[in-house]
């Protein structure tokens, strides 16, 4: 297989270990006087967007940043719980840049680019330094040094954390940097603004059309480069752990203007979420993977065992992850843990009223910690009651906010009864195809963080999303953007009166008018729910050829129905969240089809993409490296037609193997 001539990943020559440092010292620079005349537009203010906007402004560029929320601090990165990886080796447990690189490529089931992942591992340490300098209150040991914990798919402790609120603290750090620049006037912040299209002039991205969500007005903004940091598209499944506003619209508009979409079918289903409780459900809530450090996952050994979890004796429990994967046990990667849960539930061993749940149990951890506390306090004849009390106190300190959240949602107390969990859509590894510089196939248009496809292959390891978002924003784009902007210093100010701006704005307006004019009978929400059901049933945790073909037909039908029967209330001339929602759902309906097409093309199982036809005798994912070791980059041909371009993945530094966590 050869890489399509339409794709140039621009990976620097030379040995893996020196590619990035050599690139950094040879990439063209833009002098400070010229930076002041170059405008950069940043879409989204999560970890990637906020860190990029702040850093680029510090460098002297003129930055405009946009978010649809009422404040940049509310971007969905805020909800990340568990932690952020870095190859600091503070624990002296054998960690290194190479090991983080290796774990990430292996965790991604050998479908990520070596050079990108190595760069990610290289800059990981600097991220922690930067965050600490900003005042991010990471967890610390009594000696005052930083604390670490383990995450799935990894045998060292390299995850930095701030209780179960790591994303919040990192985002507030990046947000504080951003607000500092806003105060200095170097970043112009546009809250409650949604990007609805990119403007391309002579093949280069030159700006955007945004909608002021309060007034409904369409605005033209010109820039010498546009950075899409707009997050993932998990909400195509309707139910996911994403925030309700998270959407694909910015990335999808870019795709329709020429940016190829990479690996759209690679979706991460997170194993530990609170199960669905009823039809009214609007979102699913994640229980951090960090819980698998101490929680043990099990189901009853007998089918249809209806006893409460805490009444089922030890010998009648099947700790199936520990049984199947003794080397990693409860800390296998997410794709494997999710599939194993589905396998047990499908086989009839599920628990709870829906039978679509497994137990995550902290009883053993409570005893273990309780005894350790007793020993610490030199008490060697402690009663069981005291041990349990002390143990619960330790568990509370580690995971208190997560336990509270679980109790709040389910009405059950996880200190007393085991948690019930089930997999749910959480993250999308796929996204806009980007080269080593994070540029899409449209010159001047970049994509950072979850919005791009770049670093996680077919499965992302826990605590790597925060790392990638901040790596892209703080330490990658500030360098790589110079390669493009150095050639833009003679462009001068870009006029928003250009014909392309006028035309693009009109196209945006026409679509909004069309949505409002249908006045059918069905709410946008109902269409979204139906789309989500098709996606979850047929392009979810397990996929097969027949189901995917059905899904494609059903989505086409649903889309047709949407454009005939959707009912969007109100008008375009003021604050109208119903219209915003309908606009996003219309894009999800197109993306859903492409995801199924991509899943159908990939006749193998890898990472989060599990095709039932391709599995080992033990039910593990069966890759086909000979035919599918490529990135799928889809070109939009218009009218819901796509052409596949392949980027061959070359592994020069890692020995490809069947992924094993046994």
């Amino acid at each position: 297989m050869a890489t399509s001539s339409r794709l140039d990943a621009k990976i620097p020559q030379g040995p893996l270990e020196t590619k990035w440092s050599k690139f950094r010292s040879s990439v063209p620079l833009v002098n400070p006087a010229n930076k002041r005349n170059l405008e950069i537009i940043v879409i989204g203010t999560g970890l990637a967007g906020a860190s990029a906007a702040a850093t680029l402004a510090e460098l002297g560029y003129k930055v405009k940043a946009f978010c649809f929320q009422d404040s940049p601090r509310r971007a969905h990165s805020i909800a990340a719980q568990g932690g952020i990886n870095a190859a600091k080796n503070y624990q002296n447990d054998g960690d290194s840049i190479h090991r983080l690189f290796y774990d990430t490529v292996k965790g991604g089931d050998y479908r990520a680019r070596e050079a990108n992942v190595h760069r990610l591992a290289e800059v990981s340490g600097s991220i922690i330094d930067q965050c600490v300098a900003q005042g991010v209150p990471f967890a610390r040991e009594y000696g005052g040094l930083l604390s670490n914990r383990s995450f799935g798919g990894v045998q060292v402790q390299r995850t930095f954390y701030a209780a179960g609120q790591t994303g919040q603290q990192l985002l507030l750090g990046a947000y504080s940097g951003l607000q500092r620049q806003v105060g200095m006037g170097t970043v112009q912040m546009y809250n409650r603004h949604e990007m609805l299209d990119v403007v391309v002039i002579d093949g280069k991205c030159r700006g955007i059309i945004a909608r002021n969500l309060i007034t409904g007005e369409l605005e033209r903004h010109a820039g010498h480069a546009v950075l899409l940091c707009s997050g993932g598209y998990g909400n195509v499944f309707y139910l996911s752990t994403n925030a309700l506003g998270s959407n694909v619209t910015a990335a999808w508009k870019a795709h329709k203007r020429g940016a190829f979409f990479g690996n759209p079918c690679f979706t991460q289903i997170h194993p530990t979420c609170i199960p669905v409780s009823g039809e009214h459900q609007s979102k699913l809530t994640l229980m951090s993977e960090s819980l698998r450090n101490d929680g043990r996952i099990w189901v009853p050994k007998a089918k249809n065992d209806n006893r409460p979890g805490n009444e089922i004796p030890e010998e009648e429990r099947d700790y199936y992850l520990e049984r199947r994967y003794p080397a990693f046990g409860n800390l296998v990667p997410r794709d494997i843990a999710s599939r194993a849960a589905k396998e047990r539930c499908d086989a009839g061993y599920g628990v709870g009223t829906s039978k679509l749940a497994v137990y995550l149990d902290f009883a053993a951890a409570v005893q273990r910690y309780g005894r350790a506390e007793a020993n610490k306090n030199n008490i060697h004849n402690a009663s069981d009651v005291d041990i349990t009390l002390w143990g619960k106190a330790v568990v509370k300190e580690k995971y208190g906010n997560l336990f509270d959240m679980y109790k709040q949602i389910t009405g059950e107390d996880p200190y007393e009864v085991p948690m019930r969990i089930y997999p749910a859509v959480h993250y999308t590894m796929g996204g806009l195809w980007v080269d080593y510089n994070l540029m899409t196939t449209v010159p001047g248009l970049y994509s950072l963080g979850e919005a791009n496809f770049s670093d996680h292959g077919a499965n992302r390891l826990g605590a790597s999303a925060l790392m990638q978002g901040l790596a892209d924003g703080y330490f990658v784009i500030p360098y790589t953007i110079g390669a493009y902007l150095a050639s833009e210093i003679r462009t001068g100010k870009i006029s928003t009166d250009h014909e392309a701006f006028v035309r693009t704005e009109k196209e945006v307006k026409d679509r909004i008018d069309r949505l409002l004019s249908i006045q059918g009978k069905t709410s946008p929400e109902t269409f979204h729910r139906r789309l989500g059901k098709i996606m979850w049933d047929k392009c979810g945790m397990a996929r097969n050829e027949k189901g995917l073909k059905e899904a494609i037909a059903e989505i086409r039908q649903l889309r047709e129905e949407f454009w005939k029967d959707v009912k969007v209330m109100g008008t375009a001339g003021y604050f109208n969240p119903e219209l915003d929602k309908a606009n996003r759902i219309a894009d999800f309906m197109e993306l859903g089809e492409l995801m199924c097409i991509d899943a159908l093309d990939r006749n193998e199982s890898c990472g989060g993409h599990f095709r039932e036809e391709y599995q080992t005798e033990e039910g593990e994912a069966l890759r086909d490296d000979e035919n599918y070791m490529y990135v799928s980059a889809w070109e939009n041909l218009g009218n819901n037609k796509w052409e596949l371009h392949k980027e061959e993945l070359v592994y020069e530094n890692i020995k490809i193997a069947q992924r094993s966590y046994k």
């Binding site: 909800a79 300098a133 930083l146 009823g278 609007s282 949602i409 209330m569």
Partner: protein
């Protein structure tokens, strides 16, 4: 529909910040106790759309209590009856069949109503811009472990940093004071060694901006902390006052 609760809702409706608003009454049947408060609003809105009425606008996003978007004043209390919980984490099991529930937006001069239950909280961003940061450009940082922080200080800073900027403190306060919000950020950074260099000027600038935004003064009533979904402590306000007074004694700046 799966539930068995029947509710009467009195909800504030307002077209935009320049027009007057008023309460509208709605009845909602078959509400499940397992629904979150916002999911109950989803059901109500879906019903309004089917009836050809405009749905109620309200801010929400993550629906897991961390983004700080949701902001409903429920039966006279920000985020409703439970302690330490945002509106999105409030579930209908906290109410009874037949209840009448009154829902209003945050009420404060510095938070103008944009539509229905949605208010403008940009003032918080402007306060942050005035000094809620440590001035460190990307790339300047030393190794993270070269600066030990005593666990107690780190834990206290974290507790203050848990603020989600929802604005419940302002809504709860009879003076619409933003002191709890501002003091949480000042405390976080004053407790950490990294924050020392700008400690005084930060307190001065943030307080000056807070006053300029039109937030009221603090009378130590404590409603803010009692209603805060993240249970940010009042002791932060005391610390902010100490920081501010100390800064003013030697001030040459603001």
């Amino acid at each position: 529909m799966e539930g068995n609760m029947n509710l009467s809702l009195k909800v504030w409706r307002q077209s935009n910040k320049d027009t007057a608003g008023g309460f509208e009454n709605y009845n909602l049947d078959s509400v499940s106790p397992d629904m979150s408060f916002l999911e109950m609003f989803d059901v109500l809105n879906e019903k309004l759309v089917v009836e050809g009425k405009e749905p109620i606008a309200f801010d929400h996003d993550c629906r897991e209590g961390i983004c700080g978007s949701c902001a409903m004043y429920i039966n006279g209390r920000p985020h409703g009856p439970l302690k330490g919980v945002t509106t999105c984490q409030l579930h209908m099991r906290s109410f009874n069949d037949g209840d009448t529930i009154v829902v209003e937006p945050w009420r404060a001069k510095a938070f103008p109503v944009l539509k229905d239950l949605v208010v403008d909280r940009d003032a918080f961003d402007r306060i942050m811009s005035s000094g809620g940061f440590i001035s460190v450009n990307t790339g300047n940082a030393q190794d993270a472990n070269s600066l030990p922080v005593p666990k107690e200080a780190a834990d206290d800073a974290f507790s203050a940093a848990a603020c989600i900027a929802c604005g419940a403190c302002v809504a709860a306060c009879k003076n619409a004071s933003a002191m709890l919000f501002v003091s949480a950020k000042i405390s976080q950074l004053a407790l950490l060694p990294q924050g020392q260099a700008e400690r005084s000027i930060r307190a001065e600038k943030m307080v000056a901006q807070m006053d300029a935004e039109g937030f009221g003064a603090c009378t130590n009533t404590g409603a803010c902390s009692a209603e805060c979904p993240k249970e940010i402590s009042m002791s932060n306000i005391a610390r902010m006052n100490r920081e501010y007074i100390g800064a003013k004694f030697s001030s040459t700046a603001v």
